[in-house]
Amino acid sequence: MVEVEIAKSMAEEVKLFKTWSTPFGLRVVWALKLKGIPYEAIDEDLSNKSALLLQYNPVYKKVPVLVHNGKPISESLVILEYIDETWKQNPLLPQDPLEKARERFWAKFNDEKLLQSIWGVFAKEGKEREEAMAASMENLKFVEEELKGKKFFGGEKIGLADITFGWLANLICVFEEVTGLKMIDERFPLLLAWIQEFSQHPIIKDAGPPHDKLVIKYQALYEKFHPAK
């Protein structure tokens, strides 16, 4: 009986290396919480990376890293799919291959296009910033279009694409506050509604870092990118 108990608890040793603020780590937190998977969170100081992190992610040396029974998995989207395939409750991806492809597509779109363009608005100046803003608006239009007739990107429930876009729910307002630039406004009613639904979800609500702390962090970063002349 005791052996079975020990074996059971050993079988589900889950650790997550992240930082307090990384949106990529937060995605994994959301996925683990949505599935009710117990885990140990290890918040790293990226200016002084632990030996364990470097051992678990020698290729990129970045967070997040999920370690399941001693086996490390890196890159947030890879981690999310691994979690979904390993713990079958509350699936993040649908069964239908086309719907699955669609979720993966939008996750990729977020990471390769949307994130980049909005970060450009935050970090760049002058003409580069203008171009980033134009690209962001175009990208947000695609996202708005995708939400037609849906509560979440995944339909009735939160899925992989929602989790990937999730940073829009807690970080865009921080960017807008720090830059003084409005990015998601009344031109994107569906996106605004989605942000409400997503951020009010009982699992998502209390899982993220405090807004004020994020503002301080990004304010400092913003000042670095745009030193007062």
Partner: protein
Amino acid sequence: MAENDVKVLGSWPSPYVLRVRIALHLKSVNYEHIEENLLESKSELLLKSNPVFKKVPVLIHGDKLICESLIIVQYIDEVWLFAPSILPSDAYERANSRFLAAYVDDKLSPALRGALAAESEDAKKATIAQLEEGLVLLEEKFRKLSKGEAFFGGDNIGYLDIAIDSLLVWIQVVEKFSEKKLLNEAKTPCLLEWAYRFSSHAAVKDVLARG
């Protein structure tokens, strides 16, 4: 499945389109290849099929549109469920394959293109050094993942083999222009052999022959 049920909007010899075609060949799925001329302005079909990225390949399966080469390859594996499987069956091995495929696309391919576009000798040397490091990593991964078999996927081509194929095309170009052997006996002997075996595999040869 009738040939006109599956179409690939592609462009010869885009390595990303090759991925999709190799996957379809592996599954013995008949398809129609619609050639998009990338040197001319984009066709109506392409702009309609992939309005977001406006790029090939696009898989047109009946009335379904699927974009992004690796997403398409996974779709193919999930729709045509019979053997051979393209992705490994174990979740952790799948994660490894996805991670390395993303590494190829996010780091190595751009580095290869960077090596070609580099304006100074120093910049060129830096990107080539990056590449060599990456290839040594893949060499190490090959030894681990292939478990003594011919391919990353084992005794048959798998997801990672298909993903890395795009590198081979660029590697050949860089090797020509830099007069440096990126795949060599000294540092990447397994990859060198793998490259030969991959190009000789029936599914790959058929695609290249079909043109």
